[in-house]
């Protein structure tokens, strides 16, 4: 290395970073419940998100049981089925994945990775979690009210969402809308914290272009969310007013149950535009943190610097920007102007370019790397496979002419589960296994983790790959029961049953995963402070798990990027970001 000639003491100023005024809790409640420490808040977010996510997992089993063996289970009626479909979708997308990636990983990793003591607004951060908790509570309450939760589909399209006859059209839909509005308020508090912390509280030497890609992914996803969620907020308010005050934002003049409704001249399509203006960036709100995290996992566990770091950063930024101009590809069958459809098909295909670049770069990072088949690496490779698969089917659905016959079939369900459900979940699992030794100070059970990986990986393929086939055959989504469809062979039902068996097994594997995480936190072997020989700052803390304030007396000083692996001429195969050039010599 030719850039190591300087003695660090000659140019590094004394640590000017005074301790930020940290709140030091004096009570048990202040330390563990109303904590202002981002790490505790992260765990609270993750625990709440996983808890409500387990509810959504059970709801998916309800759907699958009905589809595999129609009318065998008496507790599943058409209304309950639709409620399960709706709540499964909304919980998984918003309350699990968004909250887990941004509230969970964002809170834990941002301050540690940028070298800050905490988020810049710790109090607001604490409030953000509790507002999220209330939102989850409101959502859960909708299961218990008269009429049950809404069964309008996760897209909540009016007019059917609020008309009698749709399950949960009384209190259920209102609780859903209120919960979403509260969620967005809470997220805005948290999101401002994440963005401002990254912009203002980075430690010395941590330039934007030295930030790990994990931080970049969370950073851009947070900005997307801050700008996309207002559309959902506006539509939630407008639909609530349509229900409560009798306004006609979305409700046209319509007959319902043989009577004329009170509404006149509302525009249901307006809701669809608002919803998808939020809905498509939401895909990337989930995907970008996953992109960032998996880049770091691949680099660390292949002992190789990430291929094309700058390209990876700009791809994240460009994907984020483009995600705001593709929303109407979700509405091809709504009857739009063909030029409008052409525009959105074009932008949709353009967004595939930076996304494909990322895939190439991940593969090129693996190429000739010293690949360690650790659990995080296994999940990272699985992510790649699922993401490539889901991305390819996205090319079909992005084209208006191809998309139309496939609309509302299981092909669409298979596509989006591959690309924005299973793929990000692979990253979530890989990331949890990767950072678990840092968060708990202990190792998980390796055997259980491998069992979890292989069952989840193979099982998810068995669930979603055949679903493409069913979709191409024309099996519709959201149907309680498929009858009188002569174009479907009997084998379609057999495939449905096999999918359900696989889904039940995959769900069981997640219970093993949770068991492993919980039990190992108490009984696992003691983990060293940097077990993966990683370079980023969270692995360089004085204590494991990191204590309040994250670092020791002084904040670390950053001299290099996060990807100095296998540097020629250096004895060890990694150089942490805070190691001065002189000390990095062999």
């Amino acid at each position: 290395m030719e850039h190591v000639a300087h003695d660090e003491t000659s140019f590094v100023r004394p640590a000017e970073v005074g301790e930020m005024e940290l709140y030091h809790p004096k009570t048990w409640l202040g330390k563990y419940v109303f904590s202002q420490d981002a790490k505790t808040i992260a765990i609270q977010y993750a625990a709440t998100a996983i808890a409500i996510g387990m509810v959504a997992l059970v709801l998916s089993w309800v759907m699958r049981l009905q589809l595999a063996w129609p009318n065998t289970f008496t507790f599943i009626d058409p209304a309950y089925y639709l409620q399960a479909v709706t709540m499964h979708g909304m919980i998984m997308v918003v309350y699990l994945l968004t909250a887990l990636f941004l509230g969970g990983f964002g809170n834990y990793l941002i301050p540690l990775m940028v070298g800050a003591r905490d988020m810049v607004f710790p109090w607001l951060n604490m409030i953000s979690f509790w507002v999220y908790f209330v939102a989850v509570g409101l959502l859960a309450a909708s299961f218990l009210v008269g009429g049950g939760s809404t069964g309008a589909g996760w897209t909540l399209y009016p007019p059917q969402a609020i008309l009698p006859g749709t399950p949960g059209s009384e209190a259920g839909i209102l609780l859903m809308l209120a919960s979403l509005a509260v969620f967005i308020i809470g997220f805005t508090m948290g999101g401002l914290n994440y963005v401002v912390t990254i912009l203002q509280a980075r430690t010395r030497g941590m330039t934007l272009m030295r930030m790990p890609l994990t931080v970049w992914g969370i950073f851009v996803a947070t900005i997307l969310a801050l700008f996309a969620f207002p559309a959902l907020f506006v539509s939630a308010i407008m639909m609530s007013l349509d229900v409560l005050l009798g306004t006609s934002f979305f409700m046209p003049a319509i007959m319902t149950m043989g009577n004329e409704a009170d509404h006149v001249g509302g525009n249901p399509l307006l809701f669809q535009h608002l919803f998808w203006f939020f809905g498509h960036p939401e895909v990337y709100i989930v995907a970008l943190p996953a992109f960032g995290i998996v880049s770091d996992l691949i680099s660390i566990h292949a002992r190789k610097n990430i291929f094309g770091y700058r390209m990876m950063v700009w791809a994240i930024v460009i994907i984020g920007a483009l995600s705001f101009v593709v929303w109407a590809h979700h509405m091809y069958v709504s009857g739009m102007n063909p030029y409008f459809g052409f525009f959105f098909a074009t932008t949709t295909l353009i967004i595939a370019v930076p996304t494909a670049l990322k895939v190439y770069n991940w593969v090129l990072t693996l190429w000739q790397g010293n690949i360690h088949l650790t659990i995080p690496m296994l999940f990272s490779i699985a992510f790649l496979l699922f993401f490539i698969n889901g991305g390819m089917t996205g090319l079909f659905l992005g084209n208006a002419t191809v998309s139309m016959p496939l609309s509302d079939t299981l092909f669409v369900v298979a596509h989006f589960h591959m690309v924005m459900a299973v793929a990000p979940v692979m990253v979530v699992c890989g990331a949890i296994y990767h950072w678990y030794p840092k968060i708990t100070g202990r190792w998980y059970h390796e055997g259980m983790a491998r069992f979890h990986f292989w069952v989840t990986f193979v099982g998810s393929y068995l669930v979603f790959l055949p679903m493409h086939y069913l979709g191409i055959m024309g099996v519709p989504r959201r149907y309680f029961e498929i009858t009188g469809t002569s174009f479907l062979p009997d084998s379609a039902q057999s495939v449905n049953a096999s999918i359900t068996i696989a889904a039940l097994v995959v769900g069981f594997a997640q219970l093993v995963f949770l068991y492993n995480l919980i039990v190992s936190a108490f009984n696992g072997k003691q983990a060293p402070s940097n077990p993966w020989n990683a370079t980023t700052l969270e692995w360089q803390t004085e204590h494991t798990p990191p204590q309040h304030g994250n670092f020791g007396k002084e904040l670390p000083c950053v001299y290099r990027w996060a990807y100095d692996f296998s540097v020629p001429g250096v004895e060890e195969d990694f150089i942490p970001q805070n190691v001065p050039p002189r000390n990095a010599q062999a």
């Binding site: 190591v4 005024e21 810049v120 907020f233 608002l274 770091y309």
Partner: protein
């Protein structure tokens, strides 16, 4: 300051490292950054409502909101409160602490009057339409003025804190930071109100709005 376009992050440092900010600087800069970010988010929020309003206007059964003259007076009150905060900021910069306090209280009173005026305008409209909210333009009126009012009320929390700090301390420098943030927020919400009021509630600006929304 590194350049994100030209930086080659794979090269380790060979020169002085830029100092990071101190804790106090982080706090001051963070509040300002967070406020600017929040205002960007709020902009998207109001923009979407205006676009939704424009989209709804395209339909043949569109009926504009009845005129409410009280809104002109309310606009004047908001303008004056914003002006008070600008003057307070000017005086904070020149060290006139007592004058700053007076201007802040004036801004607060004018804002409360604005909010009361907005509620009165909503009541007037309710009476005009005899409680029938099915006309979409009436629905938009309530939603947009209501949400704007909620933002003003939220701003009042910050303003009351700034006033109490201004009376509790004579540190003009600290006052300046607080007043500056309040002034930015007020000017911004005044701007939003002027756009909303001008486009939506001062007669039938159908064509102007359609042009802005890109429909014609």
């Amino acid at each position: 300051m590194s350049n994100i376009f030209t930086e080659q992050p794979w090269i380790a440092d060979t020169g002085p490292i830029a100092p990071a900010l101190s804790g106090a600087q982080i706090a001051t800069n963070s509040r300002r950054s967070a406020l600017k970010m929040l205002l960007s988010v709020v902009s998207v929020f109001f923009l979407l409502m205006i676009v939704a309003y424009g989209g709804r206007m395209l339909y043949q059964d569109w009926r504009p909101t009845p005129q409410i003259n009280l809104l002109w007076a309310n606009t004047g009150l908001l303008l004056l409160s914003s002006l008070c905060l600008q003057v307070a900021l000017m005086w904070a910069r020149t060290g006139k602490a007592d004058w700053v306090r007076g201007a802040l209280v004036g801004a607060g009173i004018l804002t409360v009057l604005f909010l009361v005026g907005q509620i009165a305008a909503m009541q007037q409209l309710t009476a005009m339409v005899l409680g029938d909210f099915s006309n979409p333009s009436v629905g938009f009126f309530f939603m947009i003025t209501g949400i704007h009012g909620l933002h003003m009320a939220g701003g009042m929390v910050a303003l009351v804190r700034a006033i109490s700090r201004a009376f509790g301390s004579s540190d003009v420098r600290a006052m300046e930071h607080n007043v500056s943030n309040c002034a930015l927020y007020w000017h911004y919400l005044l701007g939003v109100w002027l756009v909303v009021f001008g486009l939506l509630f001062t007669g039938n600006n159908f064509e102007v709005l359609l042009r802005i929304c890109g429909f014609i």
